[in-house]
Symmetry: C2
């Protein structure tokens, strides 16, 4: 039917010196009619780690339907949307209808670790993207029960801070009281990062955050966002802020810092009387326009080194940036945003919200920077899908309506593209006329 | 040959409500000559967790000899000493020699989690211990290359501090910036426990520590302790103290606090962009005479609740004491200490050091309190054995010389016991004479 290539995504050198090959990506194509618009769909089939004992009610790797929901790791992030897109195309084919756009696909398997091979792929396969008009990513979720289009995401600077006291773990009975313990240094370092109001304590970190203009501020008032529903989705009692506008801004346009955990300490169930020798604290900063990764890295490193110096510890400190993914903002007057709005109107009978996403799709920014194409994020998952969490799901309804949105989007985009072509042809004809006259 | 009973050690109710049966203990007896002293040997055959990937050079569960050392989990803590004791008895039998003492054994399998079934066992099997004169535990190591006898151990109050922000883990991109994260509260709580000089910051915690008398202080001067060798054994560059006396006192007679790790956060290799919902910090205090567990528990709970209150966090805090094991101190003029000194003199030609151990043998205290018998700790493992650590070992030499010490100890103890009996009989005869006269 179409063309499909399996392409190399490079390899990673692990901390122990071993190298592992990344799973290859798929580049595929269906249709090459030069009169039609060409849409490239990006999706990923790798997932976050999941174990039954983390608190899953069903086996995370067996898709299980219950009460109108489809449960399983990757159900919404991102295998479900990938299948829905394919399903939309399949429907055109089953009905023996002409697909109104040319389709391209890039499906990868290393998104959850920051798509390390993508830049190389985009550079090496420049030709594949040269005739693409629009790029669509469906790797996030709605904000509420209302459909949404996403025009911005935050970046992610993921840090490791390592403290090593010696070569081996020690018995806390035999050696406790005479050792500079690495876990003590670690909790001091991690406690210096963020205050109880959620404010990041790294000096200078807010300097490059784009100021909030009056115009942008107005945008948040009109968003349909139910704080109580959002609390129910998160299963958290209290947020850091009390107003809708503050919540949306702190999810979307202000940076945040989360401490994820510590590797190397005793993390098992029960008790272990160990003094860990080497511990690695893991935290990340969701950075926003106009923060720059190298500046963030420099500020974080300086701050941790300053705090560590005050501890007077003989232990060894190492700070490293493990993921450095940029934030992304799109222009919402791109034709594909208009086409998606029309598609959603057709399927749902309502206007979608124009929203941002607090999480990171490094691809959106990477695609925009490297291919210079227009990128849109068209989510189909629900706000309560629980991506990266236990009991991740996509609702049966979102999956089916999402498939319809995709199918309808192809049609609306082709019409808008045709109009644009006509306008462009008319304009060119007028220019030619003027030149000739 | 002897009698051997397998006895129930009770069960544990896990956090999820499940119950698991503890492995049973073994009570055994060899010889019941009322003219002989009766020595009961305590040992355990359970071990600390160990995985090859923790940094073991050999499979932790396959005893591997290399360069005069026997590597394997439990080699020194405590399977090696248990076997050496049996080996000593076996040697008497192989030589068809009369064993000069009656022997009893208690071997259990839950020591590493604080011997939770032991109190019940000692109460239910009171008769078994009624004719025991001396109890010997060989579950610690020497302080240096010189043989040692141990007359004191620190206790262990092991705490869990749990913070729960909600019912499920959340994506740090989608929710970072609006949530009171449990890991933030956790690092604040853990950072409040101990300062950079190793001093515990829990108010009142030092109030019950026995004051250091002039007499006790002198004791530390005479101990053979090589700080540089100890540094080499720990593979740590710098200790918290600079003098031998301070180091020994802070290992043995002052309390210490170690942070072991955090359960529930992301502790794997690599990156995971998660906001953990429930995290459990694990730390323990090695307490010393005259600190009392209920007092320690009350102070820790109050301190953590006070610190948490200042965080103004809506999250849920829970503090629990998971292990509460008392410290122990023995009288060094017990006959079995004298017998052990003579045995060591015979095998090594030198006087042993009289030392304490910073780690906890809850049994020593429990046996002393419940059986009212004289308890001695007679270690055979070397200072660099690395109990609870990666690459735990016992040297071949220590294993063989230790076996000789045990065999020689039986003989010396029987002689001293005979002298004591004679003295006691003479005394009784004199008293009878006086009464009759």
């Amino acid at each position: 039917m179409g063309d499909c290539d399996v392409v190399d995504m490079g390899f990673e050198t692990l901390h122990d010196g071993q190298t592992i090959q990344f799973p290859p990506a798929i580049l595929a194509q269906l249709g090459n009619d030069t009169d039609k618009a060409t849409v490239c769909f990006y999706g990923h089939v790798d997932v976050q780690p999941a174990k039954k004992e983390d608190g899953w009610k069903t086996d995370p790797y067996t898709l299980t339907e219950n009460n109108g929901n489809l449960y399983g790791r990757g159900a919404t992030d991102n295998k479900g949307p990938v299948l829905a897109w394919i399903h939309a195309i399949d429907t055109y084919m089953a009905l023996k209808k002409d697909i109104p756009v040319n389709l391209k696909f890039i499906i990868e398997g290393v998104e959850e670790t920051g798509s390390p091979g993508l830049v190389k792929l985009l550079k090496e396969h420049e030709k594949f993207f040269s005739d693409v008009d629009y790029i669509v990513i469906s790797d996030n979720v709605w904000l509420s029960r209302k459909p949404a289009l996403t025009y911005g995401t935050r970046g992610n600077a993921y840090f490791f801070v390592e403290v090593e006291s010696g070569k081996k773990d020690l018995h806390s009975g035999t050696f406790g009281g005479i050792i500079h313990e690495s876990m003590r240094d670690m909790v001091y370092l991690l406690a210096s990062l963020v205050d109880t109001s959620g404010r990041i304590l790294i000096p200078g970190i807010y300097d490059d955050v784009a100021p909030l203009t009056e115009e942008e501020n107005k945008l948040y008032n009109s968003i349909d966002f139910d704080m109580e529903e959002h609390k129910n989705n998160t299963e958290v009692n209290t947020f850091l802020y009390n107003t809708k506008e503050e919540i949306l801004q702190h999810m979307w346009r202000y940076p945040s810092l989360s401490i994820h955990g510590i590797e190397g300490g005793f993390s098992g169930v029960g008790t272990k009387t160990v003094i860990p020798s080497k511990v690695i604290g893991k935290f990340s900063i969701r950075q926003v326009p106009n923060m720059q990764i190298p500046v963030v890295e420099k500020l974080v490193r300086k701050h941790l080194e300053d705090v560590f110096a005050k501890l007077n510890s003989p232990n060894r400190l190492k700070v490293s940036l493990e993921i450095g993914a940029m934030p992304w903002v799109a222009k919402v007057d791109d034709p594909q945003y208009e086409a998606a709005k029309r598609a959603i109107r057709k399927v749902f009978g309502i206007e979608p919200d124009l929203i941002r996403d607090g999480s990171t799709i490094p691809l959106a920014r990477t695609f925009q920077d490297l291919t210079k194409k227009k990128v849109m994020m068209l989510p189909i998952g629900g706000a309560d899908d629980g991506e990266h969490s236990q009991n991740e799901k996509i609702s049966r309804s979102n999956y089916i309506q999402g498939t319809k949105i995709f199918a309808s989007f192809f049609l609306e985009l082709s019409k808008l593209h045709e109009d644009l072509q006509t306008k462009s042809n008319l304009k060119n004809a007028k220019i030619a006329q003027l030149i000739e006259s």
